[in-house]
Symmetry: C2
């Protein structure tokens, strides 16, 4: 009952198999867009709730800004931001009219509207109305929204034309406060990634040439997928006064001078669900960390004799009730008693593929022992994966048990990350050689291709060389080693350590 | 410090004054769209949370479907649904290109995409893939999303081009179950309107000619605004097999026959915030019911002497901490200690205009008495509105006090509703005469123009007559009086009681 493809056999197909087998999402009849199904959306809701708490506890409030951005706002941008991505959905008409029996666009707009690819421009426009004096600062807002980028090679969760995200936007009276804000929000993202998604990340900033257009600094978190590639899991931009100047966000300072505000923006997207899959899923299907699992415990009654159905289902419901009164991570435990009209074994496999953290099977033999048969998803295919556990012990220890699973999932991913950062590569030739090899799946490989931590001069000309090797600098890690020595790519002196990797 | 306009003086302007004074939303540079600001969005978040619980506790799960609907889906609809609203945003291009120094739409799409005005068609397309057998039914999903209808006369919250809503969509194996589902969800809406928004509603269904295009029945809730007009606050449609036939949602029945599923859809929107304003706000500004108030209690330190600031602020924070450990309606009390660098009096007025349910002012005199000066927003301009309350009593009784405010707000609105339904009108001439008068604000009027409960034959030809009188049949109430007698509009026998009113 394993997936059609394994990580080692065909990693991209395996990824798609997991999405389908866990019933998380599917491609849609709307070109390049996805349907996020209940199990996938339930995970997103948990991520939203936890991140939203983090956003609010750092002083931000939620708002909602229009999805349609007048073209002239981009014209402004185009003047000062070179290289802004221009693949976007453009609304040009406002009516459907029947012509020759066919519905046809009509009502051409005077000014085309862009479906937001990101909202810096339209939000800065609001900020310019809200901010008059230093007393109006800081402005600290966030929105949960859909955004559109016209991707030509869509992949579910990783790259679709429409996706969901949150985007925070702030304005401040001074440089230091705005810069600190961008870093604070990066730390909120680190916390959610590591403590909710159980996904270890490297924290750093992007090289100059890879910053968000118009930013002074782009901070990012990078995670290592099971094929060794990096995935950018969140970004936080310190925008300096660039956007404030374009949108005229001016304020009267304490000293009575008219100054431009300093702004930031930061976001994470439903792409996080893709990174979650590639961090935790195995060859049997998805594995969801307890903190963001729509159900943390699923109870499956095993019915072999219809005459005993009521007794077994009552036993199952009773365990479910007890569990749902317990707490884990400050919330009631989320329990599903699966009473659907399906074969017990099919149900069991379904929850394996969905990756519910704990599945309890209960049948007559368990009732006799006042026990349950516990299957811990993350331990599947190890000797520990099945165990008979007394109901009383299980209920009393559920919070602790979920915490252990969460911690083990994080530790497993953390070990993979730490083990697969090479630090012994010192020349472009070695780097080229290393990344010329390939592996579908890093675990169990003697010498897998994943991340290289190496020295760099900061010379932007090296971007071309890296492109040719099909790798990139993922980030300049926050923790630097006190760099001395040669740049790995050029003859120049190194000025920093960076992470080189293939990426999504 | 009252608003520029009163309800009696200029109701439409008063409405706009409330929105602005409470800082809930504003018009945007994106034509016809609004920016929902933190206080307005915070109210929406509370409504979302409570309604989402109601949607989930009735067995539904959240999903997300694409915002872009291929034109061909509407072509299908156009064939079987006459009169579908065709004012929609149409995406025709996918790229911006610089031409002669101007960004210009480029990359024309082969098939235009419609920004969803509602998602029946695209969701039915998914359902047709999901449903094969009666075992796959029911399908019970919901999404929280933005939608677009190309309104030509936008009004904040009431009618904007883009707005936010939830839309539930379900598919069932039989007629009765689907019909019951549509009614269940109407009841969820009644519960949220009455118990969370403190807004009494009339529950019923729409006349045949005013149903959602393609529906068998459209159920609705109608609320009475303070100017006597009706506002449709939520709808639930029983769609029969119409959409299933258009989208080919077929399933194998228990008996092995291939049948079309029965579907429903139901939604409420950010328009609810507009109805909330017109139910509760007064000539001083907004009044928010405790259950959906972003802050239920605001504590404002009154600083007259800077030397005492620390002492007073510490006292305020201490009360805030104690309150936030109390509960109301199953949740921790939401408290704001307002320490902003602003004049105390300005803060006080700000919270009056925003309509925070309870505002506590604390100064040196309160500290001496270990008390606080409580202002209960809904009682403003009555002798009870200010009272000195001992801190210990206030903290211990906060849950009960908020419950009383919530109940009083509901009762006040309910009294207005019941008092302003005329039942003594029996002819078209009387009806015309009644609705030829006008009043801006029903409260305190001897004979205000609001709702008429009267008899109707069900003749669709009467729609024209009603249009001419600038009124409509808002709903056929669920509770019928056992109708005997003449239709109010025609010579025919009446078959039902209906509610006649002006509306938003």
């Amino acid at each position: 009952m394993a997936l059609q493809n394994t990580r080692q056999g065909n990693y991209p197909e395996w990824y798609q198999n997991v999405v389908t087998a866990a019933d998380m999402a599917e491609i849609s009849s709307s070109p390049g867009c996805m349907v996020i199904k209940p199990w996938g959306y339930g995970i997103w809701e948990r991520i939203q709730r936890i991140l939203d708490d983090g956003i609010k506890s750092t002083g931000h409030e939620n708002c909602y800004f229009p999805m349609f951005i007048p073209l002239k706002f981009f014209q402004k941008e185009a003047e000062h931001v070179e290289g802004f991505a221009k693949e976007m959905a453009i609304v040009t008409h406002s009516r459907l009219t029947m012509k020759d029996g066919k519905l046809t666009p009509d009502g051409a707009l005077e000014e085309p509207l862009i479906v937001r690819p990101t909202s810096e421009t339209i939000i800065a426009d609001s900020f310019s109305k809200w901010v008059k004096s230093y007393r109006d600062l800081p402005v600290l807002v966030n929105q949960w929204a859909n955004v559109v980028r016209w991707e030509m090679r869509p992949r579910i969760f990783l790259r679709t034309r429409e996706f969901l995200w949150q985007e925070g936007h702030t304005a401040h009276a001074d440089y230091q406060e705005a810069e600190a804000e961008a870093k604070t929000m990066l730390n909120v993202y680190v916390d959610v990634a590591e403590n909710a998604l159980a996904m270890p990340v490297l924290k750093g900033k992007k090289p100059e040439y890879d910053k968000f257009p118009g930013a002074i600094d782009t901070y990012c978190i990078e995670a290592m997928m099971q094929d060794g590639r990096a995935l950018q899991a969140g970004t936080s931009h310190f925008l300096g006064q660039n956007f404030a100047k374009a949108a005229n966000i001016k304020f009267q300072s304490k000293e009575g001078k008219l100054e431009y505000a300093y702004t930031t923006s930061w976001g994470v997207t439903t792409r996080l669900i893709g990174s979650l899959i590639m961090t935790h899923a195995d060859d049997e299907g998805m594995v969801v960390p307890p903190r963001i699992a729509p159900y943390q415990v699923v109870i499956v009654p095993i019915i072999k004799d219809e005459a005993l159905r009521d007794q077994i289902e009552t036993y199952a419901k009773n365990i479910g009730k007890q569990l749902s009164e317990q707490t884990y991570a400050g919330e009631k435990v989320r329990v599903k008693v699966d009473l659907r009209n399906k074969e017990s074994m099919d149900k069991g496999w379904e929850w394996v593929r969905k990756g519910a953290p704990l599945v309890c099977e209960v049948g007559m033999r368990d009732i006799e022992k006042n026990a349950l048969m516990l299957k811990t998803r993350v331990k599947m295919n190890t000797p520990d994966w099945k165990a008979s556990v007394p109901v009383a012990d299980f209920v009393a220890g559920i919070g602790e048990r979920l915490a252990v699973v969460q911690q083990e999932m994080f530790q497993k991913a953390k070990d993979r990350l730490l083990k697969n950062i090479r630090t012994d590569i010192t020349s472009a030739a070695q780097l080229r050689d290393y990344f010329s090899k390939s592996n579908a799946f890093v675990d169990g490989n003697d010498n897998p291709v994943a991340f290289v931590r190496g020295k760099w001069s900061g010379d932007p000309a090296t971007e071309e060389l890296l492109k040719e090797m099909k790798i990139s600098i993922r980030c300049i890690p926050e923790d630097q080693s006190g760099t001395v020595g040669k740049c790995l790519l050029t003859d120049k002196e190194a000025t920093m350590d960076v992470i080189y990797a293939r990426s999504y």
